[in-house]
């Protein structure tokens, strides 16, 4: 039965993909080769759309593949499959974490982990900023510094960063403003 199979395949992805959305990619490619539910081109398009629509990338892709394979119910089943291992594992960890989080060894471990995670998130921000503010591909062709920098985006970045520091509004409001600005100024 296709729904059961979809659930199991995505359950396995949820269980073995460590480290977030794009870590599921090798498993999705396996689906292409092993089951033939989707083609490689379809998978690439799905990832592109998943990255540019709201929601976690891994969830979006799971919904997409499931939907393509077996319609609305297929999308739902695939998503529940990928989410189930997380719920089970995290509930177990969270249960013990609240018991052990006051132990000195756990406390000292996290005193080291916290700065490192801040650095990791910084690296993710750096990656997004690179894509949003620089045109590395056209720079590689022309070797012209003027092609490397997206001036419109950089100016918008400086303004919005100033506003974020100043106003401390909900992130959603900046995203909505950005959508309007992007359409008006043809970003």
């Amino acid at each position: 039965m296709i729904y059961f199979k979809l659930f199991l395949v995505f359950f396995r992805i949820g269980l073995f993909a460590v480290g977030g959305g794009l870590a599921t990619l090798p498993f999705l490619q396996e689906i292409v080769h092993k089951y033939g539910w989707i083609t490689t081109e379809e998978l690439m398009d799905m990832i592109a759309i998943s990255e540019s629509t709201p929601g976690p990338i891994g969830i979006n892709t799971a919904t997409f593949v499931g939907n393509k394979t077996a319609g609305l119910l297929g999308g739902t089943v695939a998503t529940l499959g990928i989410v189930t291992p997380s719920i089970v594992i995290i509930v177990i960890i969270a249960h013990y974490f609240s018991k052990f989080s006051e132990r000195p060894i756990v406390k000292s471990a996290f005193s080291g982990i916290r700065p490192a995670v801040s650095g990791l998130i910084g690296a993710a921000g750096f990656e997004v900023a690179k894509i949003a503010l620089l045109s590395i591909d056209s720079y590689k062709i022309n070797k012209n510094i003027k092609d490397l920098l997206n001036f419109k985006e950089i100016i918008f970045f400086i303004i919005i960063f100033y506003l974020i520091r100043r106003l401390n509004k909900h992130p959603i409001s900046y995203i909505l403003v950005a959508a309007v600005v992007g359409i008006l100024f043809k970003f």
Partner: protein, 183 residues
């Protein structure tokens, strides 16, 4: 029941307006849970992220489950996760059925060009907030910089900095305790 509904809709909002995966939802989580409701501290959120990063599954889902569980037990974990996932289900189902070439629509491309800029600014702002609270000494500064450089420039798996910094944290605190006992 009311709190479960609230949990669902908080994560529904976060899922519905987060572009670009786990780290991108951090600013929204921080605003909703730390600043608006005071359900968690900045440090707790970082801990959940660290755990979510080295356990299997999608970081966004792991974090949602963690926060939901802490608030309302197993049911809370499930409800928060379903809230997080529901917008994806709705939006992707609509796109899959109606827009074959969603990404090629010109107006969508323009909007996303600017949204990416905002996402970068939001993440960097959050990093500044979190770093200023979590870095307490020069060891913290080194761990922060090392994790950043290794992952940003050498594409190292994020799991390695997390495990490494845990070990450094334990050794470092042992030394501090030892010195205090000597006195």
């Amino acid at each position: 029941m009311r709190e479960l509904l609230e949990l669902f809709f908080i994560f529904f909002r976060i899922g519905g307006f987060t572009f670009g995966g786990g780290y991108a939802m951090l600013p929204a989580i921080q605003m909703e849970l730390v600043e608006k409701r005071k359900w968690a501290t900045n440090e707790e959120i970082i801990d959940y992220y660290a755990i979510g990063q080295c356990t299997p599954g999608i970081i966004a889902v792991n974090t949602a489950t963690f926060i939901g569980y802490k608030r309302k037990g197993v049911i809370g974990g499930i409800v928060a996760t379903l809230g997080m996932v529901a917008p994806s289900l709705i939006i992707i189902t609509i796109i899959a059925s109606f827009f074959k070439h969603f990404k090629d629509i010109e107006i969508v491309q323009h909007a996303f060009g600017a949204i990416r800029v905002v996402v970068a600014a939001l993440i960097i702002n959050t990093v500044l907030k979190m770093a200023s609270q979590s870095i307490k000494n020069w060891v913290g500064i080194i761990l922060f910089l090392l994790a950043f450089v290794l992952v940003a420039f050498f594409q190292l798996s994020p799991i390695i900095p997390i495990i490494g910094s845990a070990i450094v944290g334990i050794i470092n605190c042992r030394n501090v305790d030892f010195k205090e006992k000597e006195r």
